[in-house]
Symmetry: C2
Subunit: 329 residues, 2 copies
């Protein structure tokens, strides 16, 4: 199948098919065990509503059999009563999503859609978890939700495996297939190649394509732009980039790029100024050189997160040596 | 003339034609009136030598008739004795450059090459200054230097003006023509369009193309990568991005992308850790939302620099309103 041409620039900025998903609480929560207070979650929700953002992912739908509620905040589990405490009946245009991690969720915890204010279940899966993810997607689909799959760590997937997996996903119930650059390793030209593969399988099957980027190499926006050029329509971003490690594509950068009349930037800036930036010293997300190193090495950011929490924080030369990248000089 | 194909990825990483220019002191000095102490300048110089960087721009060659030596450090003027205090005879592979600003320099201050350790004179000019810049280039060329022109604020140049200017430059003595995104406004696809224009005029005239990016929209690396794809060979970067406003393309990001065997990352990391990061609180360079706003508006970062020095620093909503981007909500 031929891949259609790059999107035209004016098509991009006015395209009503483009949708933004806010991940601030869900992904940022990976930096504080989702121990946000209600005021913060409400502020992000209100900013999403006011700014015209299309979806908000409010947290994970993970199981208490693996994660203890005494160690984690409400947004690790997204119980219906917790969500409603923030959003009421969510009588707004904003759609709400929760992420179900393959192997860390129990789909018996997911209510039928008519009992929930959630609109979407996104299943996150590494490639070896895709068979399980397909079961989870079918369950959520049958319960009445929009469904998406986040194909994690796409930068380490073998090309043949990717083809086979995309074939499987194209024939599943899922409506959105996400490129997820978990390690923040992708370069724009690699994103382009991967997008072409996604398009090849997904477009004729009527699936939408999304992208979720991390900023380890300061390429989260650039990779998102490249995906948009090739007609990715569902774009993940976080307020001030708040997310695991180097963080996500920044909402403010993405929204100012799009300058689509359906979005308004000021509520995003207000939320960042009054609610997100004050958390930075505690959550410690955002680009730095340790995260650059894990991105460049195409590995999970966990080692950089640990390093930044330890007494050697700032000793980038030591981390460089620890990661085994020592050179002669 | 047809434009040659994009560079192949493996060609990029092994390409010995690619050269890196360090701008830490020259561009970073715009944040502290070039009041660096000798230890810092020497540390950057040593890191450039040890890491295999090809050029170091050590400062400006500006005139004391405009800038008072009591207000500015030595690197605003780059007197020969100041340079030699740091580099001696510079008996290394590293080439040294100084920037001569059109209308802020006096070319009588530039010594004949055989009296100087400088190897290159880069002339910085906005488009209306190009006629003057051509005189300056001829002078530096005739004195025996390599010459480059930095065509500033390329994001606001009218397309017809750009064509005419590039024609002039193609027939001049200059050997390197630089795309300079002074406002950090360019998107990668715009960089691509502009690069094609540069290539069209420069390639057959035997000129090299360089790029100097700013990071207002976190696209400095992405724009540099796009220029590399289209065979830009001279790449500006700064240690930790140290440069005016949002800063430049980060040396550490660029070098880890290139992973060309002629470069070594550790000396760069050492320089950053021990000499550059300790300056951040004073120099205040680096991406933030005020710089994002000026980049998005395609204006000079001066207003954001002033804002960040004032008592309203952090009040991004106020700046958004001041910049006249108020919206209904």
């Amino acid at each position: 199948m031929a891949i259609s041409e790059d999107r035209d620039f004016h098509e991009v900025v006015s395209d009503s098919e483009i949708k933004i998903m806010d991940c601030t609480i869900r992904d940022g929560g990976l930096m504080n065990n989702h121990l946000f207070n209600d005021e913060t979650v409400k502020a992000v929700y209100d900013a999403c509503v006011t700014s015209g953002i299309d979806y908000m992912e409010i947290g994970y739908k993970n199981t208490t059999r693996i994660f203890s509620p005494s160690d984690y905040g409400a947004w690790k589990f997204c119980r219906e009563e917790d969500i409603r405490r923030i959003v009421g009946e969510n009588d707004t245009h904003l759609k709400l999503s929760a992420m179900a991690d393959a192997e860390k969720s129990d789909y018996r915890d997911i209510l039928p859609k008519d009992k929930s204010v959630l609109d979407m279940i996104r299943v996150a899966a590494y490639i070896h978890q895709v068979p399980l993810a397909l079961d989870m997607i079918k369950d959520a689909h049958d319960k009445g939700y929009e469904t998406a799959i986040n194909l994690m760590a796409v930068s380490v997937i073998e090309i043949d495996d990717l083809d086979k997996t995309l074939e499987l996903l194209a024939s599943s119930e899922v409506t959105i297939i996400y490129i997820v650059d978990s390690y923040g390793a992708l370069l724009p030209r690699q994103t382009r190649s991967i997008m072409k593969k996604f398009l090849y399988h997904a477009e004729s099957a009527g699936k939408q394509i999304g992208i979720h980027a991390h900023n380890n190499r300061q390429l989260a926006l650039a990779n998102t732009l490249e995906a948009i050029n090739l007609k990715a329509n569902i774009l993940d971003a976080s307020m001030a980039g708040c997310g695991r490690g180097a963080g996500n594509c920044q909402m403010e950068l993405l929204m100012s790029f799009l300058h689509n009349p359906k979005y308004r930037l000021r509520p995003v800036l207000e939320c960042i100024q009054y609610h997100i930036e004050p958390l930075r010293d505690k959550l410690l997300w955002g680009y730095d050189i340790p995260y650059m190193m894990t991105g460049h090495l195409n590995i999970h950011p966990g080692v950089a997160m640990q390093f930044n929490l330890g007494r050697d924080k700032g000793n980038i030369v030591k981390l460089f040596n620890l990661l085994g990248r020592g050179e002669g000089g």
